[in-house]
Amino acid sequence: MSETRYTEQHEWVRVDGDEGTIGITRYATEQLGDVVYVELPAVGKAIAKGAEGAVVESVKAASEVYAPVGGTVTAVNEALGGDPAKVNASPEEDGWFFKIKLTNAAEFAQLMTEAKYLDYVKGL
């Protein structure tokens, strides 16, 4: 059974067992505008919680995407290379960035649930 949690930097992570899929939220894509490019991490790279995992670029800005939980990168979304618009069209499904194998499940529990995140966004 997978569950999705959120960060204040507008990243989401969907965890199933010890595998996590990470991307950015719809709110983030609305702020960013049309995504033109995503710089993805190398498979096999170890990323600590809060460290830079990817960079997402629009025409006018480039934003770091931080890892909501720490782990080792197991896969990246190659489809984004040819079609970065996927991130805008489906940020929380087809527009995922990378998958990791979690090192510490407790880090996931510290994140915001969907309800809490939606509340948080309302307050911005």
Binding site: V36, Y37, E39, E57, K60, A61, A62
Partner: protein, 448 residues
């Protein structure tokens, strides 16, 4: 004051509208202790145009212009003939006095010529893509090394011994902030095998061709050696006209090509402004420094051009930028692209051939002088001679006789006692038979 349109009445009316008594009120945030009275500046007051011309002409009159005497200086800056149309066109107001093309709707002139320029540079160097220019060849070399560090995630750069010393020094100044530079020994006229120096820490190998002594380098073996260890080959070209006659670095395995574009469209100008060319492979596009112009369409469906991939640049990425470059060399790039458009394929090939023929003829004349030998068996339009005496002294003596006899290697490597008798000589299509004969005659006299 001819450049200031506001009259006394204008200023009075404007102050009244603002609601202050005098202009000093507008400077009220300046601490009183910081206000400097006019008299405290030890500088002259305004001068009329005639007087300014006289003053500047006096400065100009104390320099030996290359066109006034037989002139054979090269070593990174080359005297070529620039057709009259070039200078005339670059002085059009819309080119000379326009700003960076950040508002593409009213800057298609600039954007289109830069797109054409990028294409020409890619074609000349045999690479996939080029940027809209950097400051000059030396800073382009430094930027290439930094790019290699980023791409390979390694920190060592190896310089071939034939690199222009100014280029090496400029690159070291910057590259040592992010990695380290290792220089192979200087061996004029010879090609050292760098293979042993290349290891798993090596991000790039940098080779200049033709090198600072004029020797044409075969890049293929170095490219193979570098690639075998996962390193990049950066080729440096200081005489871009050579690309009209020689195999381009892109066809020899270079990953990045940087060049000094001054030879085409731009005069000597005592060292600046010059023109940095930067070209690379498609896969490295997002790692390129500098401005890039891309093709797109507008809201009416018409083809147009824009600055693109700007997120690499300083005004957006700020502390994560690929470089801190702001300006390119705009007008120098325009002069280059116009001159190259006039030359075309045919013209550039002929220009390359005539340069080589002239230099070859001159080399033969000079080595016929007793005591003079040629160190560089292969060259484009520049070669190095060994003289029986200190080359700098010979150059000084010949300058007093009204001949600019080339660049003594010691000028570029003053701490290297092994190059004191070496003279680097360039000959281009601007050197006449009379020039060459006069040089040979005078050199023979001075050396006898």
């Amino acid at each position: 004051m001819r450049f200031l349109p506001l009259t006394k009445d204008d200023r009075a009316a404007m102050l009244a509208r603002i609601g202050v008594r005098d202009v000093n009120a507008l400077f009220r945030d300046v601490p009183e202790s910081a206000e400097a009275p006019l008299a405290s500046f030890d500088l002259p007051d305004a001068k009329g145009e005639l007087e300014v011309e006289r003053i500047l002409s006096r400065f100009a009159g104390r320099n030996m212009a290359a066109g006034d005497v037989p002139s054979f200086c090269g070593a990174g800056a080359y005297r070529h003939h620039v057709p009259a149309a070039v200078d005339h066109l670059i002085q059009r107001s819309e080119f000379l006095t326009s700003y960076t093309p950040y508002q593409p709707e009213i800057a298609q002139g600039t954007l289109q010529y830069l797109f054409e320029f990028q294409t020409q540079v890619a074609l000349l160097t045999g690479m996939d893509v080029a940027n809209a220019s950097l400051y000059d060849g030396s800073t382009a070399t430094a930027e290439a090394v930094l790019m290699a560090f980023r791409v390979t995630k390694r920190g060592k750069a190896i310089f071939s011994g034939g690199i222009h010393p100014h280029y090496a020094a400029t690159t070291e100044t910057i590259a040592n902030l992010h990695g380290r530079v290792v220089r192979a020994p200087v061996a004029p006229g010879r090609v050292a095998d760098l293979t042993a120096m290349i290891d798993e820490e090596t991000a790039c190998v940098i080779v200049q061709t033709p090198d600072v002594f004029g020797l044409i380098r075969d890049l293929k073996p170095v490219a193979e050696a570098a690639h075998a260890k996962g390193a990049l080959l950066i080729a440096v070209v200081t005489e871009v006209v050579s690309l009209g006659l020689l195999e381009p670095p892109g066809a020899q395995g270079a990953d990045i090509v940087v060049a000094e574009g001054q030879s085409i469209g731009n005069g000597l100008n005592f060292g600046g402004p010059y023109l940095g060319l930067f070209a690379t492979r498609e896969k490295f596009i997002r790692q390129m420094p500098g401005r890039l112009v891309g093709e797109t369409t507008d809201a009416a469906g018409k083809r147009g051009y824009v600055l693109t991939l700007s997120t690499r640049e300083q005004h957006i990425r700020r502390d994560k930028a690929t470089s801190n470059i702001c300006t390119n060399s705009g007008l120098c790039a325009l002069a280059f692209t116009i001159h190259l458009s006039l030359l075309g394929e045919d013209g550039l090939v002929r220009l390359g051939a005539s340069n080589h023929a002239r230099a070859s003829m001159l080399a033969d004349k000079l080595v016929a002088i007793r005591g003079v030998s040629l160190l560089t068996p292969n060259f484009f339009n520049e070669f190095t001679l060994r003289l029986p005496r200190d080359a700098a002294e010979v150059v000084e003596t010949l300058a007093a006789r009204g001949i600019l006899a080339g660049v003594p290697a010691s000028r570029l490597m003053p701490a290297n006692s092994g190059v004191r008798d070496l003279l680097i000589v360039a000959a281009t299509e601007t050197n006449t038979d009379e020039d060459c004969a006069a040089f040979a005659k005078a050199l023979a006299e001075v050396l006898s």
